[in-house]
Symmetry: C2
Subunit: 350 residues, 2 copies
């Protein structure tokens, strides 16, 4: 227990970030609905009227504020602590959807929320303390230690193999290719974001770090990694169902980030076995909760329940003629998924 | 961390107990199946041929061994530690059913198992140490402290109100009445079992406790509480579906037992806030995992999946004539539930 002031700041920022990002989904969706009601065209069908809707822009700004808070959180607390707390944005979004959008939360979803919260509490209680860093050169030394260089090399080689060897053939059929690239790059993004964030924090505190080329190098790495990550995340979301991509991406990304942080920042050095065990358990629990929340979303619109089935935009194009006759309407879910309601779900075979 | 020898013995016994009890379900079911195949009559329909089946008796003996191990575990480790570990028997049974009975474990069930294990690890890592007790009189003093007497009085009053006021009117319609009585009595059972177990342990170690009337009083309390608990548990299981009774009973029983133990044995005195928080989280996680496992069982035989639906023995009698024409057969599940397979589940409305 006994969080240091810096850890406390980091955790608070991470929680605020999750709150903002979670709320932004809901406000954006409310904006989309309002715009659709006004123009008669749904965003999923190609309208851009939502760009004129102030609510949508409020959501967009909240999302940006959330991402900035997340960035700053990395400057104050270890990645092992900040990254898993990202799962809480799903909870905020699920709970707000329940109250504001009146989207009934499935019992399994509530269980998933409880797990994510319990797991997060355990992670925060047993998380390591942030090391005192006084110069970007210290981070540079950590980043160039042999163990971490080995990790970076493995990641880069793996990403290249995935992009040039596997993505062209299997990218459209195997969900692991694109999400794998995102997650591998994501772990490097977080490490460089943490390095850059800490440098900027030190600079604001009066110890100018911009005079070191290392700071600028970290900035370059951040831009490269984040752009690659975003590019392939969009590809994954375009190709596959959000309900499959999101939990898979979250699990791989968080696992690799924690691995990278443990190697680079030696987060677990000097921690008791009890603490490390608790952290790993807490992490597994948050992951399970996240998976459960996504599964619950799927159950909600399960064909078996009645008339609902969930079809991603790409799949919509694959609906056969017989099925299209039975389409009752479509709506957009809180995670931007288009849900098509059909009267005869039995005709839809995957 | 750093379990004391006594705690370690207690935890090992609790794990063994869960293993034996979990395996006993499976072996008993295998015995029932074998007996049914030999005689052509299913146990659920009224046959008693399983009494001639050695496998069934092996299962019965394993169950008794498991219960004894559980009893002894309470003599070595705090109830706060031993009680939640009881959930692991469900995992053992689910995993063994998957491999031995080839009952496919639902993805949600696997998630539930992972959660129960992770939660149990956290509870064990952060559980309190067992106090050094040298005489039954010490336990007597703990049991007669005002706080605990207040707890006992409240429980007894509540149980009487439930039995004489609510059970006659609502017992058959509200699942909380019978399970509430079981859980309230269960918390007293565990406390008296712990007192008796510790006395017997001391006696075996050469410090005869049978000379004190207090030991005999605790024995009387054990018998009274356990008999009442068993009686109302059977009533609950007779009236309602196992899938509803089991998780509800487990949640209430474990919560009340932990509450009783914290009041009587002051388990949380001298523990850090971090430890207590972790224990509570671990406990919530195990509870969520247990609920998830039971929900998963229900989904497996969900009418929507095809031809299965789950009907308790009492409900079977309520099936209407139209529905009975479509019954394909019946089988007994690993938790003793009778499952009737019908071709037209849509005819069955609760």
């Amino acid at each position: 227990m006994a969080l240091s002031t810096d850890n406390l700041k980091g955790v608070t920022l991470a929680l605020l970030s999750s709150g903002f990002i979670g709320a932004s989904f809901i406000i954006k969706k409310k904006g989309l609905k309002k715009a659709a009601a006004a123009s008669g065209i749904c965003a999923g069908v190609g309208g851009f009227s939502y760009l004129l809707e102030p609510l949508w822009w409020v959501g967009m700004i909240m999302m940006i504020v959330g991402e900035v808070a997340n960035f700053v959180a990395y400057a104050f607390a270890p990645a092992v602590l900040v990254t898993p707390l990202g799962a809480l944005s799903i909870i905020f979004s699920a709970v707000l959807a329940h109250f504001i959008l009146k989207e009934r939360l499935h019992a399994l979803g509530i269980l998933g929320c409880v797990m994510c919260i319990a797991g997060s509490v355990i992670i925060v209680v047993h998380g390591p303390q942030e090391r005192e860093i006084t110069s970007v050169l210290e981070i540079w030394n950590m980043a160039t230690q042999p163990e971490f260089l080995l990790y970076v090399t493995s990641v880069v080689v793996l990403v290249f193999v995935l992009i040039f060897r596997f993505a062209p053939c299997y990218g459209q059929s195997n969900v692991l290719i694109y999400t794998g690239i995102c997650s591998l790059m994501g772990s490097l993004s977080v490490m460089s974001v943490k390095a850059l964030g800490t440098s900027l924090k030190l600079t604001f505190e009066g110890m100018n770090q911009l005079i070191y080329p290392e700071t600028w190098f970290f900035m370059l790495v951040v831009v490269t990694c984040v752009l690659t990550q975003m590019n392939y995340l969009n590809k994954a979301l375009d190709t596959f169902n959000t309900a499959i991509v999101s939990p898979m991406y979250y699990v791989m990304f968080t696992t690799l980030t924690i691995l990278a942080s443990v190697i680079m920042f030696k987060d677990w050095d000097g921690q008791s076995i009890g603490n490390i065990t608790s952290e790993i358990c807490g992490f597994i629990i948050v992951l399970s909760g996240t998976i459960l929340l996504h599964v619950a979303k799927d159950y909600e619109r399960n064909p078996s329940r009645g008339t609902y089935t969930q079809i991603s935009p790409t799949l919509t194009a694959q609906l056969n003629g017989e099925m299209l006759k039975h389409v009752e309407g479509s709506e957009m879910s809180s995670d931007g998924e288009i849900v098509v309601n059909i009267k005869r779900p039995d005709l839809y075979k995957k």
